[in-house]
């Protein structure tokens, strides 16, 4: 038991983000309102972004911008002093993708609303069957 607790404490970042992801996923699966699903989708994506960013953390590291840049060639830069920049780079991409998906999803939601005058999935389906 204490082993598990210790693991959770040592890696609580992952645990939190995974829980967050699952909240988003749950919303996407069970919610019947199209916008709520989009919100769930965003939570899911954001959680993954946070998850990645937390990979980059390094105890004792600082932000990955080299100080005393000009003339900095002279002093050696050591990797341990800076946090891992790669996850941040990757997540910039993921953020953009999330934004783009959000835009497209909203545009689709508007189209759907224009046609059915509602965003509740059940109502839309009953309207499709009715017509």
């Amino acid at each position: 038991m204490s082993g598990i607790v210790a693991t959770i404490i040592a890696k609580y970042n992952y645990w939190i983000y995974i829980c967050l992801m699952m909240i988003g996923l749950y919303a996407m699966i069970t919610k019947r309102n199209l916008i709520k699903k989009i919100v769930g989708m965003n939570i899911f994506q954001t959680a993954i972004i946070l998850f990645y960013v937390s990979i980059g953390a390094k105890r004792g590291g600082t932000i990955p911008i080299i100080e005393h840049a000009h003339g900095g060639q002279s002093h050696a830069v050591e990797a341990v002093h800076y946090i891992n920049p790669l996850p941040h780079v990757l997540m910039l991409t993921a953020i953009v993708v999330a934004v783009a998906t959000l835009g497209v999803a909203l545009a689709l939601a508007i189209r759907i609303y224009n046609r059915y005058r509602t965003l509740e999935e059940d109502e839309i389906l009953s309207r499709i069957r009715g017509s």
Binding site: L25, K37, M41, I48, F51, I55, L90, T101, V104, L108
Partner: protein
Amino acid sequence: MSHHFPALLVIAPLLSAFFISGAGWLNRRFCLPLAVASLGVAGLSALSLFWRVVQQGPVLYRLGGWDPPWGIAYAVDFLNAPVLVLICIVALLNLWASHRQVEEQFKEKTGAFYTLYVLMVTGLLGITVTGDAFNLYVLLEIASLSGYGLIAMGEDRAPLATLNYVYMGTIGACFYLLGIGYLYIVTGSLNMADIARILPGLYENKAVLTALIICLVGLWLKMAFFPLHVWLPNAYTFAPVPSAALIAPLMTKVMVYVMIRLMLTVFTPGYVFSTLGINDAVVWFAVIAIVMGAILALGQRDLKKMISYIIVAEVGYMVGGAWLGNRAGMTGAILHIINDALMTLCLFLAVAAITYRMKSYTFSSLKGLIRKMPFTMGAFILGGLSIIGVPPTCGFFSKWYLITGALQAGHYGFMAALLFSSLVNVVLFFRIIEIGFFEPFNEGHGHGEHGPEPMNEAPLSILVPLWIVALGLVVVGVYTSEIITHVLQFAIPKAIL
């Protein structure tokens, strides 16, 4: 210049997308020629790359001049070279066949449509050619986003179907991304070859196992592997025909390619097939996919939806074949990527021709069509025969390998499912032929020459590409042995017997 082909392959359509977008604002006449030219350049690059791979072996291209684990690399080998050629051919032929419809249907938005079309092809080419796991994700999103746009422009329920596709597709892509994240945590690398180098020491690691599983689940979502297929039929049915004829042949197939790439290159076959021990379960899922796809296809009353469910079944073919864990099955799966793309294209182009004339694609609009559009229906039937698996069309040969694989693996359930779906396909296509051939009924028992019904064929711009594909089915079938001995047998690692 020649060693820049891997870059040119993706760059040419990408750059043209911006020009097309601009031309859409300034002068729409330039959109189509630009799209054709760029896809042509991509196609030539793909062909010459294919040739180089066959002649000299795999090609590596360092983007930005950085060496692989640090920079992004493109790797063209025996596995993806044929897929690249395939993508270009499908995209070009479909563009040829559907440009009339695009201009009629989209008018002022033609520029935007072609932009997305070319972007989608860029994405698919990139997914196929890249050797970097994260780059693959970005390109996947490009292909998906433009795919959403292309599909949503369809009639009636298209936006709703697309939104469902967006949800499912995003979950799929996110799962893939998460899987790559897990791999990154334990290996520290994003390059496929590099990961494959590091992984053997980590086979006991639970994170690797989880990474594989979530990557697979993500990809299965994207490729509509039963029961994760729910987005596909509606999306493809309500999509405009020009988009459906691009997306249906390529999207699922490229996803299958990615799955095979992960299985063969990233997680080596030894791990996937021996250590993991989920082969049997996956193949059984494929069996269910095939059977359910076939049964659901039987229940449909319009062409596009029927073909969509056939695609669901065909995805089952490929996934099952890849997971049989032997050489024949894997060969069959890879061969089927090529064959199925061509077959689906053939069917969808025929649907495009029918829709162009009849303004509908339900079964009831097919009445008397064999008389009215004999060439279209001829090609459609040829495509159907290939789906059924009649020699010498290519569908027969991939099925042959898949069944051989099932036999060697002793997986009789998969074999039975393949035969079952072939038989169902016979019913599916001959039901259509019956409608086209018999209805409306001749009351007088066929006596007496009927007044010749006017033949009302689709325009040549659809018929010619349609027949190129249809004959291509036979040509590819006859050249199966060449494809296998010169290309595919090198694509599969020697570890798979």
